[in-house]
Structure formats: structure tokens, C-alpha cells
């Protein structure tokens, strides 16, 4: 029966984004990949579209590292608009208030885009709507990235209410799951996922309940997002001359958990005739790029500042066993070696 939970503050009220190390690593890795897009056009000519919240970490990083000056931040929390405006770090950021499903369609699609839909709610239909909006409009050489919460659902999770990204406008017409306490209809993650997508056919037929435990939800969400991108692009290609047909090249398939398990996936949309340009980007040489189902798990090694500085002396390369700091597991050293270039230094960031 319909149940409207009281409005919840945006996640920025609950989580200090500066303390999400895996997310910071992910952001820096993506930034390194974006630099390769220079083969298409100078990064300053790209437009970045993100969900900046009050922290604007992604905006700061991409403006400073890529030189991107055309920037749009979408924010749905209209009650606190003034606060978002107050926190805008640069004059070149155009803050647009509203739901992504409403605002995204109105952004200018004339230039190449990097769109990062960094939701913190789970995958639902409005996410697929946003992805479809991008795939039907974006010009070749644009990048779309989606981050969703992919923690396996637990009974009672739906009482949390919608995340900061708002649901579709037709939300009101959709029945809520049956009231709690009904013993006959057992809790099912698969049923919940289907209900959120409101289209059972988006969930691949072989996905079973047991596939949604642990990182399984992230794997399934990755498949659903990739399928959606491919399908929309395939439809868009209908009737286009072969050189103008669009292709999708996945770049990212990150799994990480600063708290809840998260999935980030996305990639480059380009036209067939731009294939050589894509090759010039040499994305495959980046170790954190994944173009298939195999995720790149970002793990944050628990190391002290001194231990990290010590390990840095042998990186890149192999840290000799005798040089591993005392009582530190070699596995932790390996984790660190994989991400040290992108490891955030909190003390510097907030100064």
C-alpha cells in the first residue's frame, strides 16, 4: 500500500564525501582516462555534467586536471539551492536545479560530453531513463558514467525512501510493494529489482535470486546498464550510414565499498569513422580500464602515511620482500601498488 516516507536529507548530509577514499581513487583513475580523450578534442572543449552535491569534488578535479570550463551540476534538492550556490567552487559551473530525468534532456548536446551520473541510490528505472537520454543525444567522442549503490537489498531497505536522485514523475502511479508483515510473499531481491526497474524484461532471464548476494547485485546491475546502452544505441543506429553509426566502448567497471557496495560503469560512445581516434587514446594500456564483465575492485589498503611513503620509494615496480614494512601483509602491499598513483592525500585536499 502506498507509503511515503518523510523526505530524507541528501546523502551529503549523512556522508562526508571527503572521507570516501575508494571513491577518491576512482575519481582520479577516471580523470587519467579522460586525459586520453585529447585525441578527440582538447579537454577544455568538453563539457562536464555531474551531480556535484555541496562538495563538487569531481568538478574541482576535472577543472584543475583537465581544464574543462563548460560544467553543469544537476541538483534536485531545491530547498537548499542557496547552499549549493554558496559552495560552487568556480564561476564556470552552471548549477541546474531539478531531477536528472527532467534536467538532463535540456542540457546542450552540441559539444562532446563527459557525463557522470553519480547516484547514491540503487539502480532503478530513472537511471535507465537518464542513460537512454544520453545515448540518444550524445555526439561521438562523449563519455557516460553511472554510479549506483549495488549493495544486496535487505528486507526493510525500501523504508529508506528514495535517494537524493529522485524517481520518475510517474512514481505516484506505481504501487508500492505489499505492506510489510505479509508472510506469504517472501522477501526477494529479484522481485525488488524488477519492481524498481518496472520492466521485468530488463533483468536478463538467467538471473536468479542467488545471483544477487555479495557483489552479485553489482554484476547484475552492470549487465543491465550495459544492455540498456547497447540497446538504445542499436536503435539509434537504425537508418544511419555505416560510418555514422555509434559504437559503445566500455571503459569502467569498478566495484568498491567505502561503506555500501557501489558499482561504477560507463564508457565512450563514438562513431564508426572515429575508430582510429579511439585507438589513439590507447585506453587498453590503463590497468584500471575494463571493457568486459570482469570488474576492477578498488580496495583501500590500511596503511599509515609513513608506510605509504616508504613503499612509494620502490614504486612503480616490485617492492622487495625485505622492504615490506613490519607486520604488513604482502597482499596489502600489492593493493597499494595498484592504486598508489591515485591514492588520495586527505591532508592536502581540504587545506
Amino acid at each position: 500500500m502506498p507509503r511515503r516516507p518523510p523526505p530524507r536529507p541528501g546523502s551529503y548530509e549523512r556522508i562526508d564525501y571527503t572521507l570516501r577514499p575508494a571513491k577518491a581513487v576512482e575519481r582520479r583513475m577516471m580523470c587519467e582516462a579522460f586525459q586520453r580523450l585529447a585525441a578527440f578534442a582538447p579537454l577544455s572543449a568538453y563539457r562536464y555534467v555531474g551531480l556535484g552535491s555541496v562538495y563538487f569534488h569531481d568538478f574541482v578535479l576535472f577543472h584543475r586536471s583537465l581544464g574543462t570550463e563548460h560544467m553543469i551540476s544537476i541538483e534536485k534538492d531545491e530547498h537548499n539551492e542557496e547552499r549549493f550556490r554558496f559552495n560552487l567552487p568556480f564561476g564556470c559551473i552552471d548549477l541546474r536545479m531539478g531531477l536528472t530525468t527532467k534536467v538532463l534532456g535540456d542540457i546542450p548536446w552540441d559539444r562532446r560530453l563527459i557525463v557522470w551520473l553519480d547516484y547514491d541510490g540503487p539502480l532503478d528505472r530513472s537511471v535507465l531513463t537518464d542513460v537512454s537520454t544520453f545515448c540518444t543525444q550524445a555526439v561521438g567522442g562523449s563519455v557516460v558514467i553511472v554510479t549506483v549503490n549495488a549493495d544486496p537489498e535487505r528486507r526493510g531497505d525500501e523504508q529508506e525512501g528514495p535517494g537524493p536522485r529522485a524517481p520518475d514523475d510517474d512514481e505516484a502511479a506505481v504501487p508500492e510493494p505489499e505492506a510489510e508483515g505479509s508472510q506469504v510473499e517472501p522477501f526477494s531481491r529479484l522481485a525488488r529489482l524488477r519492481a524498481r526497474l518496472r520492466d521485468a524484461e530488463k533483468v536478463p532471464g538467467d538471473v536468479a535470486e542467488r545471483d544477487l548476494g555479495g557483489w552479485g547485485t553489482a554484476r547484475v546491475c552492470h549487465r543491465i546498464l550495459r544492455n540498456q546502452i547497447r540497446e538504445v544505441i542499436s536503435h539509434r543506429n537504425g537508418g544511419l550510414a555505416p560510418p555514422r553509426r555509434l559504437c559503445y566502448m566500455q571503459l569502467f567497471n569498478f566495484h568498491y565499498a567505502d561503506g555500501a557496495r557501489m558499482l561504477t560503469t560507463g564508457g565512450l560512445v563514438y562513431e564508426e569513422h572515429q575508430r582510429e581516434t579511439v585507438q589513439a587514446c590507447r585506453f587498453a594500456s590503463l590497468p584500471f580500464v575494463s571493457d568486459d564483465d570482469r570488474p576492477v575492485l578498488i580496495r583501500i589498503p590500511r596503511l599509515t602515511h609513513r608506510e605509504r611513503r616508504h613503499l612509494d620509494q620502490w614504486l612503480p615496480g616490485k617492492v622487495p620482500a625485505s622492504k615490506v614494512p613490519p607486520c604488513v601483509d604482502v597482499d596489502v602491499v600489492r593493493q597499494y601498488a595498484a592504486i598508489y598513483k591515485h591514492f588520495p592525500n586527505f591532508a592536502e585536499v581540504e587545506l
Partner: protein
Amino acid sequence: MTPRAAPHSTPPSTVSAAPTRGFFVDMLTKDIGLAPAILDLVDNSVDGASRLRGSADFDGLYVHLATSPTSFAIVDNCGGIPEELAVDYAFRFGRPTSAPEPGRVIGQFGVGMKRALFKLGRHFRVESKSAKWAFVVDVDVEKWRRLEEHDPKADWAFPLKVVARKGRGAFPEADRGTSISVDRLHEGVAEELALENFTTRLGRSIEVAHLLSIERGLRISLNGRRLKVGPFRLLRSDRLRPAHEDFRLHEGKLRVRIWAGLGPSEPEDCGWYVFCNGRLVLGPDRELTTGWGNAIPKIPLYHPQFARFRGYVHFDSARGALLPWNTTKTGVDQGSPQWRHTRQRMVGMMKDVTDFLNRLKREQDRAGQEGRTLLGDYIRGLSPKDLPKTIGTFVAPKSVLPPKTAEDTVRIQYDKPVGQVQRVQKGLRALGRKAGSYKAAGERTFEYFLEMECEE
């Protein structure tokens, strides 16, 4: 009209109405989507299973489909295509009206298989073995259509090669079956088959269209995954009974059975399902076609509060022409008298059900968003059962008394300042006892006190 080459001596004053092969290959295939075309091929296999088993179950029979961006295949062990069917029907264009009634089957229009094969690609091969013979039809579609350019009078036949015959006795049942493969797929087909979303949708269409055959034991698989159906049932108890009618039209030649009642609260599954000879042709439908939003009697437009509504209509006849389906089997022929008659009865039956669901909604509204009602709890406590055979109208409880086994309950109401209640809610949250509403806050604090402070 049976398409054939024009007669030799056409007088100049008449125009040949015989279609060209090109017309058939290019135009007819545009009338059907890829998924319905593939469903037509599955229909042929299911018809084979019916020929083989009659009304018995389909245990041991299978239909395997395999799709890839470069090829399509469907293989079954459903008895193969017998000679008379192959010669008079399966490879002809349009079923001749002189052909005998094929009995209660799904493939009625005599275009399905050819249309599907042309739709898919430029080369196909059909191999089949039935009781008395085995044959191969291998067609390069481009070559086949060019034959006409060289000789406009050429017959429309496909080259059929008989591979084996049994004079006496028959090939063992285990060896019989049909295997169809198509390659050199059309570009659009290859693109669709490359999409996982398409195969997911195709699998679901087959599951829905052939749920009755799957229930009878037919194993249908798509790319190695066995297709299954949620059982096709309605909630039933001594106090809740679905409406059911069973009648015949057209001098008894068309049997119609209708059920209307309640199922699990699944908005996606809600609506009417219309079957012709066991094949789903429409549904779940929540549109005016099946009575939603009907004026007289007044039926509401579909709304989520009706998510429990389920209606099933079965048309069965040995005469395909009496069935109210369209040629692509993707909807009903709304103009047919059989459909209009049946729809009227459906509307009458669904009215009782929607009235009941409205009552359920009103009780729920009175109890508040999180409240529980006896009637709601009663319905939630029921499990789906097979469709009843007893004819009758929809029966539902007016009110439900608490079950005798449960403890007597009393209702507690009190007023407290909002600020205090919100503090309590916050405190409950900290204890991991979520209380989203004030009512829940009252209940959770009661439960907390009971658990922590009261002895057993």
C-alpha cells in the same frame, strides 16, 4: 488467395494478381516483428507435440532455440512434419481452403513458417523426420527469388529432397523431429540478436505465449536456458472463489472459457490474458480492448489498486477461422462477433472483482497507510490454486472475522506532542527498530516494553 504464378494464357485484358516472390519476401515480412516471427516457429513445434501426444502431457518433448548474431536455429523432437503437411501446407503459401481442417492447432494461416524464415535471413535449411519419411528443404533465398526473373511461370515450390522413407512400420518416436537453421541473417536481425535485452524479451514472450504447453511438460530452452512459467493460478478458498464461465458459440464449434479473480499483487502480471488454442495472443492487457474503462457497465480504468486482478479467456476450436486472433497472433480481432460476445461477458465478470478490490482499497485507506485490515490480511494469507472447474460468479468475503486461533486484540489510541513522538522515533531508529510512522512508533515502543520489561 493462394499466390501462384500467372496462368500461361492470361488474356491481355486481365492483370495478374499473383504476387511476386519479391513481394512475399520483402513485404510480408514487414508485417511481423522478429519476436513474433520466431514465436511462429515455436508454434509449429508445439503443433507437432499436439499431433504426437493429443491431449496427453508433453513429458520428454523439447524445443531448443539457439540465437547468435550470425545464425538462428530451432530443434525439436516433436514428431516431425508428415508428408501431407509438408506438401499441402508447410511449404505452401497460404493454406488452401480445400485443405482439410488441421484440427486444434496454432499455426492456422499457412504463412508463419515461411514468413519467419524470410524474416530471419537469406539462407535456411529445414530437416525433418516424421513417422513415415524424412526430408530436407534447403533454400538460398536470393537464388530462389531470382528464379522468377528467368522464368516468371516457375512454380513457387521449394526444392524438397526426400532423404528416407518407411514403407512398412515407422521411424521410432525418439528419432522424429524437426531442425531448422537460418544463416546469412539480415542486418537488422543480426543487430537485434546481438542484444541481450532482445533475447531476454524473446524468452519472456515464449514463456508467456506457451505457458500452457510448458505446464504440460514441454521443455523449451533458449540458448541453453530452460524457459519456465510462474504457475497460472488464482487465489481460492472456501470464502473466495473466482468467477468462471464455460460456453460454446457457433453451433458448439468454438469453446470459450473465462476466469476472473485475484492473484498475487504484481502490477506487471495484472490484467486479462486471451488464449487461442492454448497460445497467448493478448495479455496481460489493461486496456479498453479487454474492458478496462468500459462505459456500461462502468469499469474503472486500470489503476495499481487493481494489481491483483487476473482474468483468463480461452478460445478453443478445430476451425481456426472461428478464433478471434489476428494473423500475427499478437492481438485479438476486435471486430469478430465471437470476441464481442465474449468481451461482454468478461466485462460483467470483472465488475465484481474490481468492486471488491475497490472495497479492499477503501478499508485500507480507513486503516491508514501502514494499517492492516482483516480483509487485506485474509487475502494476503491465501495462496494461488489451480483454476476451478465450477461455473459461478465471483464470491468474496464481505468482512473477515479474526481467526479463532489468534489472541484477542484491543486497539490502543493516545495523543502525544509531535516533538516527543519524533524523539521516540529517533530513539527507536538508534535501536534498529525503524518506525516510519507515528502509529509504528507506538507499536514499536509497546513491543520494546513488552520484550524488555515484561515477564513471559
